[in-house]
């Protein structure tokens, strides 16, 4: 599903965000990417949706080398990947329904399909009753649910979540984690960068730990800090 071979990413100015990362993530896995700020977590995730390309090494997603994708193929890749961010990235002037529908409108899905798929996604995240609410009328956890609904509405094979619980309290964080676990249970690969020790320790999934751009631990059913 996702394979990285010796991936190094050097940003302008010489900052090395990733150093020789080797990683293989199979279909249906749930992977936490942990590490201190600046360890390269977001860069690692961005490699998968081609938010950036490796300076050296290769990244393969769904059997394609992402650096070799032609410009018109990048949007097609992204249509199969759901992305969730810490700051939700909702459009404040659109309702919950319209925010989710937006993801389908801009890839030219028919109106009939949109009317069918948006309620299903909202139902999945438990917000069917708030479809007409505006984002600023929702609590933080609810806003993140809208963002997750938008990420899954196009039935992606991977969901990438970059610190999705970063702005949420512990209880709300666990709700969001349960939701991501439900999505994973349906066969979708979930790759999540986080600082949230509580959720990592409680869920005991695969943990990939980065430090200064290098993978220092890759542990099945790991905790936030590792066995040591």
């Amino acid at each position: 599903m996702v394979k990285m071979y010796g991936v190094t990413r050097v940003y302008a100015g010489g900052v090395q965000a990733l150093r020789g990362v080797n990683l293989s993530i199979d279909k249906g896995e749930f992977v936490f990417v942990v590490g201190p700020s600046g360890a390269g977590k977001s860069t690692l995730l961005a490699m998968i949706y081609r938010g950036t390309v490796p300076t050296r090494g290769q990244v393969w997603v769904a059997g394609r080398n992402i650096a070799r994708l032609r410009w018109h193929e990048v949007p097609l890749l992204r249509r199969r990947i759901g992305i969730v961010f810490q700051d939700f990235k909702l459009l404040p002037d659109r309702s919950v329904y319209d925010n989710v529908a937006f993801a389908l409108e801009v890839i030219e899905v028919s109106r009939r399909d949109i009317a069918k798929r948006v309620p299903m996604a909202l139902d999945m995240v438990g917000l069917a009753h708030k479809a007409q609410a505006m984002p600023d009328e929702l609590a933080g956890g609810e806003q993140q649910r809208v963002a997750i609904a938008r990420a899954i509405v196009n039935d992606p094979f991977i969901v990438i979540a970059d610190e999705p619980t970063g702005n949420l309290d512990p209880d709300t964080s666990m709700d969001i984690m349960n939701l991501l676990c439900d999505i994973n249970m349906r066969g979708t690969t979930v790759i999540m960068a986080t600082h949230n020790q509580l959720v990592v320790d409680r869920l005991r999934r695969r943990v990939v730990q980065l430090d200064e751009g290098a993978v220092v631990r890759d542990e099945l059913r790991g905790g936030y800090c590792g066995e040591a």
Binding site: Y49, R64, L69, W71, H72, E73, P75, L76, L77, R78, R79, R80, I83, K89, L91, F102, A103, E105, V106, I107, E108, V109, S110, R111, R150, N154
Partner: protein, 303 residues
């Protein structure tokens, strides 16, 4: 990656176009588009006015050049024994194709005809002040100076006039005028493009969040770009259309006025020229709009 592409039917395409058009219109309301339309209009008015001026003077110049003639006035005091012989002598000069005798009465009636309504002052003349003359046609306009020199040598001539010199001046002036028109057009194109580009930049900035999400969920570059390109095009067309309306209204007024008070000035007033001018100006404005959006889309919308 081909399995990832989704089937898009015509209805969806139409809806997409409507949606993108809607986005462009919403953008026009949000950003200072009206200001840029006004600036584009001002640029296009400047170009149009210069172009109208240049086109008309060129037409006049062409007409005058084709009519270069030498007019030989006969001395009214000295008795010219044989006008016919004089006419034949002129005809014999090299480069002369035709010599026509114009009596003073004929000259007056011609003048009346030429002046039309403006020639009212010619009606009450007590005596005809015009001299008898010969109209001498030439094979080549540039021979005028040489032929005029030869004619002066004949007896019984009071004056020889030919338009070549000022036609030459006019041609030079036209060249300068066209140069200025070209420069103004270039400046206008640059100015209009820059103002449109600035508007689009603001528009991109206002919608940066939407654009970011569009990119992340897999909207194509074309889908993201099109509303901005359309916005630039609309500003360019609207501005130049307003300019055309303004200049055309002014010009029609001018044509009417010129025809009533100075009908001898050959001002261009036919609808085909006008239509061409309107299409040209609007196309020019559209080009400026497109260029402007292209600049901003390339610089600020890295898709």
């Amino acid at each position: 990656m081909s399995e990832m592409s989704c089937e898009v039917d015509t209805a969806v395409k139409l809806r997409t176009m409507a949606m993108l058009g809607g986005q462009a219109l919403r953008s026009l309301r949000k950003t200072p588009a009206l200001t840029s339309i006004m600036v584009v209009m001002a640029c296009m008015v400047a170009v149009s006015v210069f172009a109208v001026f240049a086109v008309n003077l060129t037409a006049i110049g062409r007409q005058l050049q084709s009519q270069v003639q030498i007019r030989v006035f006969l001395d009214q005091n000295a008795a010219v024994p044989d006008k016919e012989a004089l006419g034949l002598s002129i005809k014999a000069l090299p480069g002369v194709t035709k010599v026509e005798y114009v009596s003073k009465d004929e000259a007056l009636s011609r003048l009346r005809l030429q002046m039309g309504d403006s020639g009212f002052f010619l009606v009450d003349l007590e005596h005809n002040p015009l001299p008898d003359s010969f109209d001498v046609s030439l094979a080549h306009a540039e021979d005028a100076r040489a032929v005029a020199g030869e004619v002066w040598k004949l007896k019984g001539i009071s004056d020889v006039i030919y338009g070549q010199k000022w036609v030459d001046n006019l041609v030079g002036a036209l060249r300068v005028l066209w140069g200025i028109t070209g420069a103004v057009a270039c400046l206008a194109l640059v100015g209009a493009s820059l103002i449109v580009s600035n508007t689009i930049r603001l528009s991109v900035f206002a919608r940066r969040k939407e654009i970011e999400i569009m990119k992340l969920v897999g909207a194509t570059d074309g889908f993201i770009l099109l509303p901005f390109v359309m916005e630039g095009l609309v500003i360019g067309i609207a501005g130049s259309f307003a300019a055309t309306a303004l200049v055309a209204a002014g010009y029609v007024g001018l044509v009417t006025w010129v025809k009533s008070v100075a009908s001898f000035i050959p001002i261009i007033g036919d609808p085909i020229h006008m239509r061409l001018a309107v299409i040209g100006t609007v196309a020019f404005g559209a080009a400026a709009g497109l260029a402007g959006s292209a600049i901003s889309v390339r610089r600020y919308l890295k898709v």
